[in-house]
């Protein structure tokens, strides 16, 4: 079917476009576009505000990644802190890193080594008694006292780096170690007395028991 009108229009198609929209129409369209530049700028701010409203997929991914990093960081610091805390109560471990203090107080390492060996010796003697004498209230108090001394020792050690009065601090540290030995010695004495006292009375009641039966 021939359509001359159609042919005519085809030939002059662009001539039919005679109208133009108002130039300001684009401004009106812009206002109706929610995801324009505004959103792009807002995205960065939105993360710090933690608004959940509208996120494009890639930004959501970034948020997740940031959260994972943050959690890992927190976990790691907590883990490291916990490790330090568990190490602290054992005096040997606390005293061991004295190497770094050598430059400040060179004689300290030697003194420390001497006292540490002394303390360890007393401790092993004490633990031998521990097995024999159970349920002794004093033991817990002594442990507390030792822990307290250990703490102040550590603090003194820290002060070595900051305090110019090195010899005074070293003296205090030595004193601290001597107190420990004293404490341990006294404990040993108490235990020895207890042992002697126990050996005597145990003989008597045993006899009594046998006579009674």
């Amino acid at each position: 079917m021939k359509d001359k009108l159609k042919d005519f229009v085809n030939e002059h198609r662009d001539e039919f476009d005679v109208f133009e929209p108002r130039p300001e129409l684009w401004q009106e369209i812009c206002q109706d576009l929610p995801e324009s530049r505004k959103e792009k700028e807002g995205k960065v701010i939105k993360i710090s505000f933690g608004e959940r409203a509208s996120f494009s997929a890639d930004f959501f991914f970034m948020r997740v990644a940031a959260a994972v990093v943050l959690l890992l960081g927190c976990g790691l610091t907590l883990y490291l802190m916990k490790q330090q805390v568990t190490k602290e109560p054992t005096p040997i471990a606390a005293i061991a890193p004295a190497v770094s203090t050598e430059s400040i107080a060179p004689e300290l390492a030697e003194v420390e080594a001497y006292y540490v060996s002394q303390i360890q010796e007393k401790k092993s003697q004490l633990s031998a008694y521990d097995r024999k004498v159970l349920g002794l209230d004093e033991q817990a108090e002594i442990d507390l006292e030792l822990a307290r001394l250990d703490n102040s020792y550590l603090q003194l050690k820290k002060q070595l780096y900051t305090n110019p009065n090195t010899s005074e601090i070293v003296d205090a540290m030595v004193q601290n170690l001597q107190i420990r030995i004293k404490v341990l010695n006294r404990q040993l004495e108490v235990l020895q007395q207890l042992e002697q006292m126990e050996q005597e009375p145990t003989n008597e009641p045993q006899k009594d028991d046998t006579t009674n039966v």
């Binding site: 001359k4 009108l5 005519f8 001539e15 929209p21 129409l25 684009w26 576009l33 792009k40």
Partner: protein, 206 residues
């Protein structure tokens, strides 16, 4: 600008005629980058696309609605919705014809709102309207044809412009308007006849 407009309004037509197909490909590639930037919400890219298509799309809407203010509303609505659903645009068709489809649908919705019925319910296929031979086509002038189209009643004008100017075939028009293909055909031939009558009328020429 002039060249792009031509290609846009040619839209589908140039594809079917396989005319300047090479041009079409490079033209799509140029748009591709801009469209990708638009998808990311780039305001300047959106303006670039708007500048490229606004005039052609405005004329499409103007021809269907036949009302300047309404055509502007349609253009605004169509661009906003096009930018919003740009992610659903697959490069199957050219961007121009995708956008044109949005504009056409928005325009038709606009007239539907103001007139309840676009195409008269009378669907009986009026046997081919006798094709009187108008041999005076040499006298046709774009301005006259354009003005005559504007004088057509809505139902006629929509089918006629979709077919003649926007390059849709009757199958597509039937789909767009929700009518049958034969209704589209008969409506077109009636509209065409009416158009020629208008142009022949003495008061029109004057």
């Amino acid at each position: 600008m002039e060249g792009t407009d031509c290609r846009i309004s040619a839209g589908k037509k140039s594809e079917t005629l396989n005319r300047n197909s090479l041009k079409n490909i490079s033209y799509q590639d140029v748009n591709h980058q801009v469209i990708e930037r638009c998808k990311g919400g780039d305001n300047r890219a959106q303006y670039e696309l708007y500048k490229l298509y606004a005039k052609a799309m405005f004329n499409v809407s103007m021809r269907i609605t036949n009302d300047y203010a309404e055509a502007e509303d349609v253009l605004q609505e169509a661009f906003v919705s096009a930018f919003k659903k740009l992610h659903s645009y697959k490069a199957e068709a050219s961007f121009g014809s995708w956008l044109k489809r949005i504009v056409v649908n928005a325009s038709i919705n606009a007239i539907r709102k103001r007139r309840s019925e676009l195409v008269p319910m009378d669907e009986r296929v009026v046997g081919e309207v006798p094709d009187e031979e108008y041999n005076d086509d040499s006298e046709w002038q774009v301005e006259n044809v354009r003005r005559a189209i504007q004088q057509l009643p809505d139902g006629y004008r929509v089918v006629l412009t979709l077919y003649l100017l926007e390059g849709f075939d009757h199958g597509e028009i039937a789909e767009i308007l929700g009518i049958t293909e034969s209704t589209s055909k008969s409506q077109y031939s009636r509209a065409r006849k009416k158009l020629l009558e208008i142009m022949k009328a003495p008061q029109f020429v004057a």
